[in-house]
């Protein structure tokens, strides 16, 4: 019998509202007990004195680029970046090549993940074939193969009738529809948020309205179909307000925010730095305030990174030529602590919720809690540890982060997946010293 005992940490489990110094015992990959000074023999020990012990963090929005774009990221490298960021589970978006629009691709991803990933990987299937926005993908078969949601992330469904059918299908199979809300006609050609900064820099704008009109459409379609609708990477004031409104009316609507959308605004971009180019774009300070308020109020259910690796050769171009997206797995917790917890905007327990029960509830995953018998996924944090993000040492294959060189206060120190310690900060630091 394989045992791991995590001693003397401050255990925060939002599912049971536990917040106390406890020991956590994992046996054969499952949570076996939580208590004070547990008497255990023959177990591997982890001393968590002074540390936070939380259910394993879930990132419900990640791009792993495999199959098809292995030069940017693989399931293996992405999973290592996830572990280094304190995540025990990640959900990968279907915009690979081929697109994950059928059970064969879904099974391929799951098999590759079983063999090479060091964290749990849950695929998200496409809404339409090739994410072309026209014909529905084989959604039922993909659900049977293991997808946890559908989304045409990056190539959103423009046709409202197709979206309606997708929602009805998703409802039939009990999964949510995740929409990257963007009216592609309104945003066409844009490179950054439309506002004072885009006008100043002479860059074409992506108006907040291009996000808002689709959030509005999808909320109405969710009401029409009874489907569960989840807004990916919400970034604008009106979108947050509409989600809050929909929730107050009892619609099945949820949303996620990325760390960069609550940590950065359009004015923070060094001129034409492509590591600040993503979709939705960094918006105004006012929008950043609304996203933060949504996190505080509960309009936003989860923090997700939208980890989007791109190789340097693609990012080292004219701003308007570069692809959209930044990596984010390794900096998410540090940013949540810095922007939300340390300034007192949310409690540590609320932060844990946003990374655990929040996404687990949206996706109906039996993860993100420390119930007896639950998977032995644990994220251990040190809220005070000072560390510097060096993107050149990232476990990801890509380097496109706006936070290179950023000094953080607090972050993950150990990641435990199904009872195994897959990453520790200590080991990473030791490896860095050896490499030097």
């Amino acid at each position: 019998m394989r045992k791991l005992i995590i001693r003397n940490g401050r255990v925060i489990d939002p599912a049971t509202r536990l917040d106390a110094i406890r020991d956590v015992l994992i046996e054969n990959g499952k949570i076996a007990g939580i208590g004070e000074k547990l008497h255990v023999t023959g177990a591997e020990k982890f001393d968590a004195t002074g540390l936070i012990v939380a259910p394993g963090f879930i990132d419900m929005h990640v791009h792993l680029r495999e199959p098809g774009f292995e030069y940017a990221e693989t399931i293996e490298s992405g999973s290592k970046a996830a572990a280094a960021g304190g995540f025990t589970s990640i959900c990968c978006m279907p915009n690979t090549s081929p697109v994950n629009d059928n059970a064969t691709v879904t099974s391929y991803i799951i098999e590759r993940a079983e063999r090479h990933a060091i964290v749990n990987v849950f695929p998200i299937g496409a809404i339409t074939k090739s994410s072309a926005g026209e014909e529905l993908a084989s959604i039922g078969s993909m659900v049977q193969a293991g997808i946890v949601a559908i989304s045409d992330d990056g190539r959103p469904v423009m046709n409202a009738r197709v979206m309606r059918r997708a929602m009805e299908t998703a409802r039939s199979f009990g999964i949510p529809v995740i929409d990257h809300c963007e009216d592609l006609h309104l945003s066409a050609g844009g490179d950054m948020h439309e506002g004072v900064e885009s006008v100043r820099l002479g860059l074409r704008g992506i108006p907040a309205a291009s996000e808002d009109v689709m959030v509005a459409r999808d909320i109405l379609l969710a009401q029409l179909t009874g489907a569960r609708f989840h807004v990916a990477h919400i970034s604008s004031r009106h979108s947050v307000e509409m989600v809050a409104f929909a929730k107050s009316r009892g619609f099945s609507v949820s949303s996620e925010a990325t760390p960069h959308h609550f940590a950065l605004s359009d004015g923070k971009m060094p001129p034409y730095d492509s590591n600040y180019k993503m979709k939705p774009p960094l918006r105004s300070d006012c929008d950043v305030g609304s996203v933060t308020n949504g996190i505080i109020s509960g309009a936003i259910d989860a923090i997700a990174t939208d980890h989007a690796p791109h190789p340097g050769s693609e990012k080292m171009q004219e701003f308007e030529k570069c692809p959209f997206g930044v990596i984010g797995l390794e900096t998410a917790i540090g940013l949540a602590l810095e922007k939300l917890v340390h300034p007192g905007k949310i409690s540590l327990a609320r932060m844990v919720e946003l990374f655990t029960t929040g996404p687990a509830r949206v996706l109906n995953l039996n993860r993100g809690n420390l119930a007896s018998g639950a998977p032995g996924d644990i994220t251990i944090l040190d809220t005070e540890r000072a560390w510097t993000y060096d993107v050149n040492k990232s476990a990801s294959k890509s380097r496109n982060s706006p936070f290179d060189g950023h000094i953080f206060r607090g972050g993950p120190v150990a990641t435990i997946v199904n009872g195994r310690i897959v990453w520790t900060a200590e080991r990473q630091d030791a490896d860095a010293v050896t490499a030097n």
């Binding site: 002479g202 860059l203 704008g205 034409y272 492509s274 080292m316 004219e318 030529k321």
Partner: protein
Amino acid sequence: MPGGLLGIESLDRVEIETILDRAKNFQPRQSQNQRDVLRGRMIVNLFFEASTRTRTSFEIAAKRLGADAISITASGSSVDKGESLVDTLNTLGAMHPDAIVMRHSASGAPHFLARHLPTPIINAGDGTHEHPTQALLDARTILDRRPTLEGLRVAIIGDIAHSRVARSNMYLLSKFGADIVLCGPASLLPVELQQIASGVTLTHDIKEALRDADVIMMLRVQLERQHESAFSSGEYFRFYGLGLEHMSLASPDAIVMHPGPINRGREISSEVADSQRSVILNQVENGIAVRMAVLERVLSN
């Protein structure tokens, strides 16, 4: 300016005045021999976008100062063969020119390169962002006729949204206390323009813009930069073109400027372009003088 000249926005008044004063010395260009100033220095003119007047102007400016000027245009070069911007510039950088004069259709392209290359870069127009030497030559042209920019009412009319000339002029004129009226249809005149420089007002009515104007800057209709029809082109001249009949609204000694090349009958009538009020050819002359001053200043450090 050891790092080059990327834009007007980041320059201070003293720097601008220094260039404008120095440009005055280069104005009687045939009479003065300045060929020792930059003798033996090498300047690469790298034009990724078609340009006749700016490229020629920089070439002449460099040659008048005794520098060796080499011009490269994108078509027919390695850029045509798919080379990336960074690779092109690294290649040129390895040949150790003293400065690179660069025009590019992407906003920020010179700023991006300036971060990765030690060679000073002079921005000869980047996308819809800035065209700093144009604003400097425009200021020189105005100051040849007016004692100061302060308090002047300057109307800039046309496709402001896509105009790097408008942005650079706004930054420069604003630093010297001019009143700037921007005029165009709403689709070409984002309201945020008012917030990027002080002393700026917006109007959609050309008559309002021209009222008591001391300087009228007409912009070229930038058909190549509009990605869709933002205004009916058939109606453009009727509502935003400058005709002789408008001139009575402006101040009696108002001057008419245009960065060129002009589209006669599209944004400006031939009668105005060829009138006594027009200083369009003076702008071209001053282009060389100002660019000599800029090259000298960038390369003298």
